[in-house]
Symmetry: C2
Subunit: 567 residues, 2 copies
């Protein structure tokens, strides 16, 4: 068998279609404020046997052959992608955060882990048929039950972090408790998973083999988190000092990470375990530079990971294998396990009613990790396709609900982001007026059209504020603003002036980029948020210059989004 | 056939060993001031049938199986890696540079392209047996001859750019001419290659098929460089504006690049051609942000590309297939083609004797592209293994020699880099003295030990300079320096002081990071270069703070190398 010219064409098309579709649907999901992994999975389901395979089987067979060199190459790439994804996920596990909040992290974490673990274990042990257990020896049944427990015990760290940031809860008390506990659970959960895998692999060899495998799994974990971590802290500066930058350090990280993955694959646990632990040991080294972290996170997180999640749908017919019973059982175990468990932990740490409930609801989030765990168990023959589909449904369902539930529990408003406030209909490419009050009137006129308020009233409010203290900022930026009682939502109008207008800025610069910011009277917070975001994004005068030279709204929005000057 | 747990282990090991060995030997090559691609190729030769396969065949078979899922996965990854490498290489082709220097670029480029092309074509046509032509139809012979001509016509843009920077020639007249001409040759050469491939593929179909293929190749090239380029310039800001940053734009670039590659693969030319042209169209867009460029260049250039070059050695027995005759023929065609051709072009543009000769010598550089071209022709069955090995030897040989030859022709000193001047034996972790003159004496004492000059004389010279004007800079940096007639080479001693010393800096800051810079009396340039490099690397006070807190020399060197603060 040879990798031919035609295989090359097939592989290029398959990878291009997977990356493109995953991105497209990931963006759609993001638009609807859903986690991108949802879109990526759906992309694979649409392209795989579930949909495209049903509708146009020839197209699916052509794009994603299941046999031959192209299929093997895709399998290999998918395998490397998920291994590297776990490495990057491990890099996000910040051990010092757990140590700083060790009491709450341990209490909440153990509560949120043990209760759902026990429920899952019990359900799988006493009612395996509800979870589509294919049957097998008692040993297989035990492994199956332990796996279900572990899968229910784990939480979705990245989804959680995103939700907390979105609800401005990240730096609050419940936020930090949730994150520290989730990191703790991630760490313990993956170790549990390693033990389940070694039990599974060593199973047929009897007690001695099991002991050896369990011991080597634990030994490897302890080694990586202590000596391995310390060794990396010494090796990283050495590699950076004595090799070309950044090629040397990137090469070292990939080589060492893949070697750790290969080691645990050889142990029979799975490459994911080694890659994750290497990521943990690497990630909190103070010697890992930001730009290296960014390169790894961007290429692996934004290209390889979506490729992996989209490719899951190619292997499994989600429609044929869907079954409602295991979904209900899993959801019940999750809700009656995670929420009370985490709530109890939070109460024990002295948190009040509503906050403790928020911790409980927050921890009940499953996500990408859940799916990776499930797929690995499926491939190892521990669980059936139907249970895997149920796990995917659980993961997506909880990550879809948590955000709204948390908002309901804590009455938190969502953070206001500048980019969401910008629109081509509230953008003036060139302000006509040559004087400041005329320019303000022009911007207010546009704002009035959009908000259906009286333009004269808006202008008067803005001018009044302007008279109090001019809003010109150094570097050519101006931010006239006002609070209006009749407004329901914040409203931003942007105007550019190539000549510059005099907003009496402290450095006497002419303002060429003007943001008119109107906020509802009672929302004092939103005005502050928008003002500070504009000030921080445009603190570099170069950024203001580039913005004022944009030829249209799309270029302007692209510049604001990317936060960085053109090359 | 299934991709099993064992295949996963094999793939992880193979990729880890390839990346690791390529990096290691690439770094070694860089230490010896040779292009890293040399080390990467040698890594593959050592691991492949040429060496490891001869010595320990079992190990080679275990690590790099030639059959089965792992081999297919590696082939697929290698194929994607070289395709993406060409995309990144295309991004370096800066069309505006050619346009700015269009007269010289065209004249020198055509001279440096046509003469070696004709010599190669002639040699291959009239003496095919010298170039190990396997025999075949007249059509195959014609394709073979055209390929040899094309391979000799192309130049190595990245190697050239590096050599010119290294010899401080990049911004000079001959430097810009060489670069512009090399970009022009790259562009024309890849189009020639595309035509050769379409001639090869369409060959058996007769005249009409050939015409269709040639037309579609040229049509695609013209489209990408005109309409495609213009379309990208409009699409990029749109994608940036309306998708998440930077995931959206990365996903778009990869998807679109792979689609272009797939299109030319489908045309029968090869994915490389489409990827390269997409890179060209993308690369000079003013809307491609620096950080996106960096992510692509770093992951593809420093991970995937070395993986590809190392994997070449796995396929070919370089020792068994080496033959001296084709090497000599190729080297003769190159030297008697490139040097006179480029020299003539440079003379026609009015360049003087020595500079014109430098252009000729400079253009006679082959490199990584040559090897990619050769491998593609080998896989398409156009050339034999022996000629491929000869092409590799030509590419490595010329890229090894050019730097020294250019230096000899133009008498250029190499650029002095700060990192090469730093050494653990010229580093004081904590200066003992509490006063400035004591600290200078301490640093000069160490300098004296290394240079075998009189410490008192050094100290006197430095103090004299210090008395003229203090050398404290804002932010905690000080750069005491002197020129010494008896010194043969620049000498830098670094000292840290946690308390800070008073070097009378303009912002009254205490200097905690002190560079003592001693340069030979006649080399006024080297002092300026070192001073300006230190000033620019440490202009951020945060960088000075981090440097002064380093626990040892390795950490200090790592910080200087990576130019960036810790996270």
């Amino acid at each position: 068998m040879k990798f031919t010219h035609e295989n090359g064409l097939e592989l290029l098309l398959a990878v291009a279609v997977l990356i493109g579709a995953a991105r497209l649907l990931g963006e759609l999901a993001r638009r609807c404020n859903k986690p991108p992994v949802l879109g990526e999975l759906v992309a694979g389901i649409l392209l795989g046997p579930s949909v495209l395979g049903h509708l146009v089987p020839q197209a699916e067979n052509f794009l994603f052959p299941t046999q031959g060199p192209t299929a093997m190459a895709l399998d290999g790439i998918r395998f490397l992608a998920v291994t590297l994804f776990l490495m990057v996920a491990g890099m996000e596990v910040d051990l010092p955060t757990i140590l700083r909040h060790r009491r709450t992290a341990l209490t909440v974490g153990l509560g949120a882990l043990l209760l759902p673990f026990s429920l899952g274990l019990g359900a799988a042990w006493f009612a395996p048929e509800w979870l589509c257990f294919a049957g097998g020896s008692e040993h297989q049944h035990l492994v199956f039950s332990l796996f279900v427990g572990t899968a229910l015990g784990i939480s979705a760290l990245p989804v959680l972090a995103k939700i907390l940031i979105d609800l401005k809860l990240f730096k609050t008390d419940p936020g930090m408790v949730i994150i520290a506990a989730a990191i703790f659970i991630d760490l313990v959960g993956w170790n549990l998973f390693g033990l389940v895998m070694s039990l599974h692999q060593g199973g047929e060899g009897g007690g001695k083999e099991i002991c050896i495998r369990l011991a080597s799994t634990l030994g490897f974990a302890v080694f990586m988190l202590t000596l391995g971590r310390a060794a990396l802290a010494r090796i990283l500066p050495w590699v950076q000092a004595h090799s070309s930058w950044p090629a040397g350090i990137l090469g070292f990280i990939l080589t060492a990470g893949l070697c750790c993955a290969a080691f645990t694959q050889w142990l029979g646990i799975h490459s994911l375990f080694g890659a994750f632990l290497f990521g943990v040991a690497l990630g909190d080294s103070p010697h890992l530079r930001r730009s290296i972290r960014a390169t790894l996170e961007q290429f692996i997180g934004f290209i390889l990971t979506p490729l992996f999640f989209a490719s899951i749908g190619l292997k499994i017919d989600f429609l044929a294998d869907f079954s409602i019973v295991p979904v209900l059982v899993l959801v019940a175990c999750a809700c009656f396990g995670k929420i009370p468990g985490a709530w109890l932990g939070a109460r024990l740490c002295g948190m009040k009613g509503r906050e403790a409930l928020a911790v409980g609801v927050g921890m009940n989030t499953y996500g990408a990790m859940e799916i990776v765990l499930g797929l690995t168990a499926l491939q190892a023959g521990i669980i059936s396709q139907s249970l895997f589909v149920a796990i995917v449904v659980l993961a997506l369902g909880t990550s879809l609900c948590t955000s709204s539930l948390l908002q309901a529990v804590l009455h938190r408003p969502r953070a206001i982001h500048l980019v969401n406030q910008l629109s081509s209909t509230r953008f003036i490419r060139e302000i006509q007026s040559r004087d400041t009050s005329g320019a303000i009137a022009e911007l207010c006129q546009l704002a009035a059209e959009k908000s259906r308020l009286d333009p004269a009233a808006i202008t008067a409010a803005v001018m009044e504020r302007e008279a109090l203290m001019p809003t010109g900022l150094p570097g050519g930026l101006a931010v006239p603003h006002a609070r209006l009682d009749k407004l329901d939502a914040p409203l931003v109008v942007v105007g550019l002036s190539s000549q510059g207008l005099d907003f009496l800025s402290p450095d006497d610069s002419k303002s060429r980029l003007i943001f008119l910011i109107l906020t509802p009277g009672e929302q004092s917070q939103s005005q502050l948020e928008l003002l500070s975001e504009i000030a921080s994004r445009f603190q570099d005068p170069e950024m203001v210059r580039q913005a004022s030279e944009c030829r249209g709204f799309t270029e302007f929005l692209a510049l604001v989004q990317s936060r960085e000057g053109t090359a």
